[in-house]
Symmetry: C2
């Protein structure tokens, strides 16, 4: 019985192979590396029925994850997040089967926990002592948290404007936290210099190959939660794009194992009109994106002006017959209110963007009424106190509640 | 096949019985009412093996919950929260089997979601249209959220000092939110007048009998997660005390079904030295508590100067050979840092209080080294941005990371 069927790392651009049991970052050609598995052997050992008996965390798929030994698993109970129907909004949008996959219900309140759990576990297994990363907030909070659980040192650099609570997550977990008067790309440059100077492990988005392995479990879970009949459309708020690349990778792996059929969900990359490099590249039929100048959006997590994995995002979108589109901040803030007041889901602004996109695509006829459509909410609204402005009336103890 | 084996409501003080299918609040004697079930019939239908096949939410125990029809279930995927070992802190405290039950990983980021899910579901089933409640924040956020999901109107009154993010949860969910210049007891008085005046459903703590049914599922889950061999000690941060009453009720029900043995975990009620009415009553050997004057603690959720269910909390503590003790704010804030930096758990201040209590009880020899000890963390630290003060260094894009 193997705990993991990891075989090697592979460059998705030039197909060079690397030893998976050495610390590795980018390919010599500059591309991110992807983990590969012996899926034939995995299929022999693992069955869908076995999965049902396992704990509701992403580690239920451990044969298809890169951690070789159970004792190296660093876990806070992450994964198997709820898949919830949205009946009222479905009716409003004329969609009979609208769902949200709610990644707010996970340690640290953000889907970044998946990448951190698997990435930190594997880093520890490979002997890492100190890791460093730039972040728009949530990834830093998650990696700091999991590093503390693993007993690793974490160095985190985030823009001054990143959500305040993610500073607290880093600081209280004992990470070395720095703010930068700039964007995540500025934070990335600082980290790039620091890992060279100090020999730290570079945990930047897609600069190590295992964060994506954690993120891909969203794809496994969706397949399992839909009883291995994958949905028709998945809308994903796209910044660095690791999640959408991961979901695509997971679905391809499940196909190779024969666990799902030929048809894949159409993957939709949703961005903000204030930062839409992937959308622009998709519209122009290009394979890579260009740096988006002066990017700005209230949905901080998708403020990524140039993603290292842009070509993989575009491949995921094209390979599934998907599309890419951008939505305005005003629209997504309105959608956030709609999700909370109609369905009781207080989602993050990034997640709310997918509802706007679903509505537009439905109106255009790109999504049909009977299709099963999943909004991927990447985190909880409680991490973003400033996106909701509230001025409730103040009563004195002897006051009565005034009727509207 | 019955979805629920609910039979009637019963007063735990004077034993008067009430029809469970009518809206009910307190007993005529002033006591909260408890839901009772046909446990013999439940045991015939339900087995431990069946549970394993069910979804990882609290609704897996639906036969022992009060909602009569599956279609009335209002859910956001709550329950089956992680049970996590704390090996580093265990070593520090000389406890070989120290765990946390992490209620931060649940919709709304607080264990209040359990009570709200079951309470709102049952309220809707009984025809309620508008409910009203006082809250220290998290319960209001949860009930507002689940009311939105159920299509009910919610009226929420909270102290001005309650955590800011819980205002947002109420407002964005469409609840009618009011602040009060006072404590939760002042909010309670305002709600008391309003429900009389307007005929609203009073959802105040223990003034309806179903919130506790949601909270008790923590007890079922702990039993199931420990493979029906219950732990030795459970430490619970006690404000209104619904959770500890609920866990005790759940364990007694499991005993009656023969699913667990004679031995029960010793339940420990942990309070703040700034608000410790239960501790005082326990020390003085009394059956009820007295109103705690000028109560004050950074752990806002346990700032409850007089709990309606105080006699039930004291019964749970005494009935299990447990105890009650209070900890200082300074100590619990330090414990919050310890949990995050040693174990990667960013818990709420209330949850952190249980670590302080465990350490004291271990030092006193009240807890033994080999006992299995569970800290009940009632919510996520991300809902309390003000309890952590952080001043990270600010870099300019051209700066390098300074080495300490």
């Amino acid at each position: 019985m193997s705990f993991s069927f990891l075989t090697h790392l592979e460059c998705p651009r030039c197909h060079t192979q690397y030893d998976a049991d050495e610390q590795a970052h980018l390919c010599t050609c500059g591309s991110p590396l992807l983990a590969r598995y012996d899926l034939v052997a995995a299929k022999e050992q693992l069955s869908k029925e076995m999965l049902q008996q396992r704990e509701p965390t992403l580690w239920r798929y451990h044969e298809l994850l890169p951690v070789r030994s159970a004792e190296n698993v660093v876990s806070l109970g992450e994964g198997m997040t709820p898949l919830l129907p949205l009946p009222r909004l479905g009716e409003k949008l004329a969609l009979r089967h609208l769902y949200v996959k709610d990644e707010g219900v996970i340690p640290t309140g953000s889907f970044k926990a998946r990448g951190a759990a698997v990435g930190v576990s594997r880093a520890r297994e490979l002997g890492v002592r100190t890791l460093a990363m730039p972040t728009n907030g949530n990834a830093g909070g998650a990696w700091a948290t999991y590093s503390a659980r693993a007993g690793l040192d974490a160095v985190v650099v985030m823009p001054e404007g990143a959500p305040l609570i993610t500073r607290n997550e880093c600081a209280i977990s004992g990470a070395h936290l720095f703010l930068v008067n700039g964007l995540i790309s500025d934070a990335g440059a600082i980290v790039g210099r620091a890992v060279k100077a100090h020999g730290w492990y570079d945990a930047s988005t897609l600069k190590e190959p295992y964060r994506i392995e954690g993120k891909k479990t969203m794809g496994y879970e969706l397949a399992e939660q839909f009883h291995w009949e994958v949905p028709d459309v998945i809308l994903y708020p796209t910044g660095g794009g690791v999640g959408i690349i991961g979901i695509y990778k997971a679905l391809r792996e499940l196909q190779e194992m024969g666990w799902i059929g030929e048809r894949l969900p159409r993957l939709v990359a949703v961005q903000s009109t204030g930062c839409a490099p992937i959308v622009k590249a998709w519209q122009e039929g290009r394979d890579t994106s260009e740096m988006w100048k002066n990017s700005k959006t209230v949905a901080f997590g998708i403020n990524v002006p140039k993603a290292l994995g842009d070509f993989l995002v575009l491949e995921a979108v094209r390979g599934t017959g998907g599309c890419a589109l951008a939505v305005d901040d005003d629209e997504l803030l309105q959608a956030q209110v709609e999700l909370a007041s109609s369905e009781g889901l207080f989602v993050c602004p990034e997640g709310a963007a997918t509802l706007v996109a679903a509505r537009k695509l439905r109106q255009q006829g790109w999504i049909h009424e009977g299709e099963r459509v999943v909004l991927l909410n990447t985190g909880s609204g409680i991490k973003y106190p400033d996106t909701v402005q509230v001025s409730p009336p103040l009563l004195q103890p002897q006051d009565d509640i005034p009727l509207a």
